[in-house]
Amino acid sequence: MKLTESDIADNYNDVWVLGEIVEGQVHKVTLELLGIAKELADKHTSKKCKVVCLLMGSKLVGYELELFHKFADRVIIVDDESLKYFNDAIYASVVSRLIKKYKPEILISGATSKGRSLMPLVAVKIETGLTADCTGLDIDKETGLLLQTRPAYGGNIIATIKCENHRPQMSTVRQGVFKSMEADKTRTGELISETVLEEEKNTRFTVLSEEAYSEDSKINLHDANVIVTGGRGVKNPEGFKIIHELAGAVKGAVGATRATIDSGWISYAHQVGQTGLTVQPEVYIACGVSGQIQHLVGMQSSDFIIAINKDPDAPIMQLADVAIVGDLFEVVPVITKLLSNY
């Protein structure tokens, strides 16, 4: 529904972050989003925006303190047995009702599978716009509107999108796009508790059981300081052996390009890029990777980039801080050996 200018000006405030808990901990992306939410709230000078974190689930005790430390002014907790599993229908009803009650100006969520399932349901229920996978968020100085920047067409184009007459302005953001702020342990905030209504629990969808991936099938690219990525240059599944060895020697994680995943050499969980993960390690070592834009958008914010490629003109070589022109099958094992003897 289109809102009037005065309705927006008078009634819509606050920057909301849809929080997520994974395995008993606040999701990293939630903490990152609180940082950018604070920045947006500060920049939105025409309004007094609070940073609000909405947290939903079952048995949610003791999370608010960390959220306050990371710059939430207010935490709204909805703790109910019916939210134990991710039932998007119940979640969407609750979020929509709370939006109508509190009228946030902006609502951001992680572009996780849950965020990407829930946010579009909510956007349609509330009749507002939603921008997926934003890589930049800013407040337009003149209009106070949220400027949402995102790649489209496989990263070939960067578009800036706004949502003028509908509220809240909604975006999803991938993990690793924004850096989380240093915690301020002196901060506290306001804690509000909300409930799930009985009629909201009545859905045609039921989650029966949940299973977490086993520890060793988890490849934690987000937490790694160093990522060693193999591209089509590794030639075959066995070629990933030297990539794994180098990653082991630097205590890093293994990344991969889509070309290698499409060839079935390694699992999708390793994919970095537009349709994979966005990562920001201290050091990114790309071996046999050409550096197509769809790959670059997932790793170009790494602090330091090393590329090993036979072709000195490969696009990755321009992006790299160190470009090693050579055969990865010769160079990589030597580096691994030097590191192991170190």
Partner: protein
Amino acid sequence: MKIVVCVKQVPGTTEVSIDPETKRLIREGVSIEMNPFDTYALEQGILLREKHGGEVIVLSMGPKRAELTIREAIACGADRGILLNGRPLGGSDTYATSYILSQAIIKIGNVDLVICGKQAVDGDTAQVGPGIAAHLNWPQVTYVSRFVESGSSELKLERMHESGSDISIVKLPAVLTVLKDVNIPRIPTLKGRLSSRKSEITIWDETDLKTDPNKIGLGGSPTRVVSTRKPDARDKHTIILNGSASDSARELMKILKTRIEL
């Protein structure tokens, strides 16, 4: 089972560029194809029809040439196709697109299941499937990785998320978005290709759909693209090492030492 598969026609994305003068996408001469993620949705529709009977209807909104994509889907085994095409429908964002598609699903009538791809490779939003579910007020199951059991009135499905998976039951009618793990799409047969050429494709515009004019096209879209640009090039000084493998490796070690703890 009456199944609608939503299929989008997309450009071969890597070729897209911006006209420096008009700042618009150059679409001319760009190859087009069925959104790769939608081929799994289509295959799943066909598999379910083979098991339960009924029909698979391919639904696409787009320019006239999207007929080609619909024909391709028919060649693979879909029963019939509907193209939503009309000037006022153009410029729709995901809110408006999912509204328009949902109106077509209502017009088709008695639909049991809508299957979408995980995302389209051009817009890359993954919002249209859930949007359809919300407009229809049907339950949705996103990121479906496996059909555990399929009955004619409910489905038992596996869903994937980052840290694990879950098993759920959904009562039909429902909207699903599927991952490429669900099946291996078949390739059109020659016979299928030939008969698809003769298939009648239904074309509906905004008046056929009786859509609310305030909810379609550019005007009905809450979001608006204000500018587009090429991605920034990372402007920096690159150290090039092009000696022997051992020289390069040794040189790299020196640099690495200053960056991380070895």
